[in-house]
Symmetry: C2
């Protein structure tokens, strides 16, 4: 590690007059930031500051803001000089006062929100609305022009940035990473995204580590390791860092201007080498480390305590404006930026300062990629009919549903390869999840070392695999938010790893839907497979169906859950999801060989409705059923049908209705979810008073939660995952959780009035079967032949 | 980066005879591993291998196993040579065949499971039971002696290792990290744990990066970057890596022996420098990089395809034993280890090989820290009475609940400082969550650079703060699993980041409870604060109460959820949780000033029951209520009481009963949760037929899910979080979600039969209040004075 630190070259790219202008822009942005946090009147301090000009509740984050403003300004210089397209991502999204200020200075803000005009009145609105009821939130949310990243939950900036850069060869994504954010796991691994970017066909990401030394109330790790250690870490991550350090504005402007030039020169050189000279070696991409004080230019001390360059400037450096000296301190602080030199009489930014911004869509605040919906094109989708499994009679054929769907997915990839707007992602599970067909038409993205016996690795591959659910999710979100499409498959249990990321995306979708100028983006599509019931190689840790519970807490408009029971229903569902917008679609389906129930026509009818009676499995037509056997999920469907067959033998007179649910949200009440069945239809299916034995893929209480308002709610008896698992046989998994055919039948016998006495022998026979089962598997290590060979017909 | 790679010194510490023995141990471990995956009979191949000696379902993971076996063997050498205490953590817990084999070779396995004896019969059982119904699971689960880490969900090995090492100065935790696992976010950031370890008072972690090049079906990033880049990365993480590379066993044994010596010498030197010479600079801790083939010593090719040193050896290198050649290949593979040289006639490991293991508790399989419950000591807890808030009458006083509790927590820390068995953790939120009092008696753990103006940083601090929820969680789990205690506070919304880690811990607890020799460990205690209703500085991204939904899906025996409405109830709850074992305790409580309802005596009575009528707020005593106003959570309690007061004004005759819930699981039915109230008690509280207006902290459906079996379920009307939020006033948050007093009253009017017509004027007055509210906050940015100044009495 004797290599010298790569500092910004000691040249001074800015002339004195430019420097003066740069300071004025920066002052203007900082002034507006402080104003947003503190003021609700007197925006340009044309009167002496009074208590009632300040907000009663002082909310927001100052510490990160001057750094963000500084970077925005310097990126603007590069954009103008090179006519480049740059997307700005603020990891510390709590620096929204700065982002909003910058977009306002660029004019974009007023274009999107005309009432926040570029005059005194607009300035007043701009300041008052921030973190104010009915105004705008404290983070870089969907309301913020130019943003695709809220930055509320820290850790995802860099994976979002890479997601945005993929397949956008002309875009540079400048991604500011807080040094606190850099401590999060998702961020720490996302540096490695540079092994998945193709300098020829993808855009570039310029990470900017914002080393302001502090987080909320602690120093940061990266600021407190030796500079050489930090440099080694970043080089180890595959970057070539440029360090900009200091606090004196003038030299810092010069250093940053030089650093930006160097970084963009290097990016250009890397891209040229790959695009024109055919260079294939993975480059060390440039990045910038900005080491500057937290709360830069803010109050040095507050009430005698260190504030600038310290964690105390993280939020609002001082509040309680009635405290002696605070009002005065605020006025001094604000006036230090000399608002009279920044805004003219009418309250408009002086034109010579405004001229520092690029124009039109070159403004980062107006970059089209930041409102990706406006760039999106629908996918070209092959006809699912060409991939459908032929089903001669229900349950006769066997198929691996995800493999069938995988063939279709391959051709989705093929049809859209040229548009370069579709990616398939998985945390090292694409093949395990049996979606390997897609590798027939593309490769796995890989720009690290390759060996001759490698399997489908290529720099421009459109299958993305890294063993990080967080990174896959972050990439996909960034890709979708910039107007493209994707599909993520994951082991069901481990999708919980991204629970909180899904929360944040759902919140983004909800907020964006309320912003008139935000355009719809493609849905976030999940295939959860290797699911709880068939985690054969693994054990209890791999058995968890709770992601459904998690997502359905999100705003109903944006969430869909599908449990296709076989290949054709999975085909339909996947095709449906890939055509939808603004949704989070969760598909749960098995990858193991399993009986195929519905031919394509039946599958389409069934899936369009989302729920329905399976007539061929029912015997109550024309009358009322004695029991409704409901099922959702592939394994529960299998067990339900097996139970029905047992009932046929043991209680041939019993009228059984089989209802299968593909679209889980049909069960919810229509006031809660747009897919919720109206009560009349629901009652028609499930009756008003008959027992409903429901075999469910997930945790049983979920069904109760969905149907508690329904007339027949009390008669629902749900079998599902009871958190019992291990490495065992597939049938033993259902037995342990009482989801198996025998427990189902036994429950039918218990619940149908009058049946218990009649069916006492059947019940005993069934009990015996469970004993036989336990003995058999303990000896043979596989399920009883009658279970393995079971067929519906 | 011109520094030479630190390779293991080229000395050969092993004599020829040792080398021969080392190979035999390694062969024995590998033999038993392959045997566990494949065989159910003929364990020592004393007959020619037949199809029916093999398992019908071949489940498990071979690829990582030989490497784990190799490392175990070499760690044993160091342990014997130095009489050190070493805990083994296998990041790739799927390598359980190896771990189990090693613990069996050490004799521990047979001590814990006498039926798996050290003879032919025991060998047969050992092999058959693996991944077999009724046997043992495929991972290093709680059933595995010496394990505190299942290794099913990848990413937590290193944070677990550090958690185990804290305050265990005589322990070395050897942590094997898969190169795939290293790609996960949680693992990637956990390297930085070395900035939080004190060489003087903590133990050491020896990370061993298992660079076998592959994960399931892809190469790994770290194996495909230049060696210098990898070295830079690891040095950047603050380690001093020792590289052991190759595939030829003899030289590899020599290199690994030398590397282990070097690593343990360095650890000893670091500890001596800190403990005896008073050195305070953060050391670069040693670590080992083992670069060896995946599936080492396994089949080179299977069916003509590369297998050893490739991802194809990840799971079962070949299955379908009826496939031509497979049975033969298996026999050849097994015999390559020469079982006859390993086990004597009776099936016992030859004594000269067995002698390579340490004895007694020095065996890693018998390390007492791996069954931490047996080392645990209860905490010394101060009397909560000394910290209680005086409540002259309900709601009269105001207090910040978490701050009150923080004073108590400080003294918990103080009383147990000497025992060094209690840590308080937070992702940079300890002060924000108002637990800063604890810093009066200890510091924040910090072993990176410090500056003179730093705030309570010290190498041996017992408050742990890193901006990584994953790392905090992992440290705490490791600390608890090795017999100590802890308390983690977190913003409510962001605890979802560790959803999946909590799943895994809950699964561990459940499994461990079924293992007779596992002893109880201290509970995992959470304080979730800065909760959904009072995220004042932040917005929608910080508003999510769904963690409760997540945890209650776990096995009921292990999960508790508490919603103390004020400081004294929070005190009781916290003290209760810190005395419990084997639980996941979730406490949700606000940090903002709020009314205090119960004096300590009342608080204790209320909390012991977990739920109860607040008589002083009710007016139905002696009769039946017209309506039950139920509440759970601090803000809902406040709004409920405000609603009750409004009802007093507007409908003085209405008989209102107020029920407050602290222990959420009392609502669940007793068949589901041990805390569930029996139906008689539940019905007594909530009546059989009166409307229940329930103000709940979280998502409303959760209450419906808990109470769906109760007699009065249909009359529950739950108000809670509807996923509406932003940066706004506290009262506006409840209004947006209809949890405010006005919506509650309005719902009472709608639901109490006959009230609607009588209370039409009241309803209109209330509607008007909501209009006033909206106008007021939009103008003033704070809540109406009547809201801010509201008092119960
Ligand atoms: C995942 C997550 N954990 C905790 C927080 C609470 N939080 C908000 S800001 C902050 C500190 C951020 O520090 P840094 O990234 O360095 O940003 P900056 O210094 O630029 O403000 C924390 C811990 C969060 N927003 N997200
Ligand atoms: C978080 C998580 N995601 C995905 C998986 C599925 N999985 C099991 S093993 C494995 C590959 C592990 O590779 P590595 O860590 O290198 O282990 P080794 O090569 O030693 O087997 C994967 C992706 C998992 N167990 N955990
Ligand atoms: Mg910072
Ligand atoms: Mg590996």
């Amino acid at each position: 590690m004797n290599e010298p630190l790569s500092e910004a070259p000691s040249i001074a790219p800015l002339s004195d007059s430019e420097l003066a202008l740069f300071n004025r822009w920066w002052h203007a942005a900082n002034y507006l930031s402080v104003g947003q946090i503190y003021l609700m009147a007197n925006p340009l301090l044309r009167e002496p500051l009074q208590l009632d000009h300040t907000k009663p509740r002082l909310l927001g984050h100052w510490g990160t803001t001057p750094g963000l403003n500084f970077l925005w300004l310097h990126l603007n210089r590069v954009i103008r000089a090179r006519d480049t397209s740059v997307l700005f991502i603020a990891g510390p999204g709590h620096g929204a006062p700065g982002i909003v200020a910058s977009t306002y200075l660029e004019g974009t803000y007023s274009e999107y929100f005309p009432e926040v005009s570029q005059d005194l009145e607009g300035l007043g609105r701009l300041m008052k609305q921030f973190s104010f009821p009915g105004g705008i939130p404290s983070h870089a949310a969907a309301t913020t022009p130019g943003s695709i990243h809220e930055g509320g939950e820290l850790g995802y900036s860099l994976s979002h940035a890479y997601g945005a850069a993929f397949d956008n060869p002309d875009l540079v994504v400048a991604c500011v990473i807080g040094d606190g954010e850099a401590e999060t796991g998702p961020l720490a691994t996302s540096w490695h995204s540079n092994k998945f970017v193709d300098p020829a066909t993808d855009g570039a990401v310029l990470p900017i580590l914002h080393l302001n030394g502090y987080k909320i109330a602690n120093p940061t790790v990266l600021a407190r390791i030796a500079p050489r250690e930090l440099a080694a870490l970043l080089r180890g991550y595959g970057y070539d860092p440029i360090f900009v350090e200091g606090h004196d504005p003038d030299p810092m402007h010069q250093k940053m201007a030089a650093a930006m030039d160097l970084a963009f020169d290097r990016i250009a050189a890397i891209q040229k080498a790959a695009r024109e000279d055919g260079k294939t070696e993975r480059p060390a991409w440039p990045m910038i480390v900005l080491r500057s004080p937290k709360g830069w230019t803010g109050p040095k001390e507050v009430d005698g305590l260190r504030t600038e360059g310290y964690w105390r400037s993280h939020q609002v450096p001082f509040s309680d404006m009635t405290h002696p000296g605070h009002l005065q301190a605020l006025e001094t602080w604000l006036r230090s930026y000399r608002p009279e030199d920044l805004f003219d009489e009418s309250g408009r930014l002086f034109p010579e300062i405004a001229a520092l911004a690029p124009v039109g869509t070159k403004r980062m605040s107006a970059n089209p990629h930041a409102n990706g919906g406006q760039l999106k094109r629908p996918l070209r989708l092959p006809d699912i009919a060409d991939y459908a499994v032929a089903v001669t009679s229900p349950g006769h054929e066997t198929g691996e549903s995800t493999r069938v769907m995988g063939a279709w997915l391959r051709d989705v990839m093929k049809l859209n390869l040229e548009s370069r707007n579709f990616r398939v992602l998985a945390p090292d599970e694409n093949n395990s999840n049996r979606l390997n067909a897609v590798l027939e038409v593309t490769n796995r993205a890989w720009n690290a070392e390759t060996l001759d016996y490698d399997d489908h690795l290529a720099r421009d591959g459109h299958v993305m695999e890294i063993l990080s659910e967080h990174t896959c999710q972050g990439w996909l979100e960034g890709y979708l938010l910039t107007g493209r499409h994707g599909f993520l498959s994951c082991y069901e249990a481990f999708i919980h790893i991204v629970d909180s990321m899904v929360n944040q995306h759902a919140k983004w979708l909800k907020t964006a839907a309320e912003v008139p100028w935000r355009r719809s983006i493609a849905s976030l599509n999940y295939l959860l497979t290797s699911h709880v019931w068939r985690q054969d190689h693994n054990g209890f840790s791999h058995q968890d169906p709770g992601f459904i519970d998690h997502v359905i807490n999100k705003k109903a408009e944006f969430v869909r859950v599908y449990l296709p029971p076989d290949a054709n229903t999975l085909l339909w569902t996947t095709a449906h999801c890939l055509q939808s917008w603004d949704r989070i679609n969760v598909i749960v389906a098995g990858k193991q060989p399993e009986p195929q129930w519905l031919g394509l026509d039946d599958a389409i009818r069934h899936c369009e409705a989302g729920i329905g009676i399976w007539e061929w499995a029912s015997n109550d037509k024309g009358g009322e059923p004695d029991v409704v056997m409901a099922c959702a999920g592939d394994v529960p469907t299998l067990e339900t049908l097996a139970a029905v067959k047992l009932l046929r033998e043991h209680a041939p007179d019993l009228k059984v209705r089989v209802v299968n649910v593909v679209d889980l949200m049909t069960l919810d009440s229509p006031s809660q979810h747009p897919h919720g069945l109206d009560d009349a239809s629901f009652d028609a299916l499930f009756t008003l008073d008959r027992p409903v034995i429901f075999a469910f893929h997930g945790y049983p209480q979920l069904i109760h939660k969905l149907i508690y308002r329904r007339a027949n709610a009390r008669n629902f008896h749900v079998h599902g995952f009871r958190e019992e698992g291990s490495t065992t046989t597939p049938f033993d998994m259902v037995v342990r959780n009482h989801l198996d055919r025998f427990h189902l039948v036994s429950n039918v016998i218990d619940r149908v009035p009058g049946l218990a006495t009649r069916a006492a022998y059947a019940k005993q026979a069934i009990r015996d079967k469970l004993v036989d089962h336990a003995r058999y598997i303990a000896e043979h290590g596989r399920d009883m032949p009658e279970i393995e060979a079971w067929r519906w017909s």
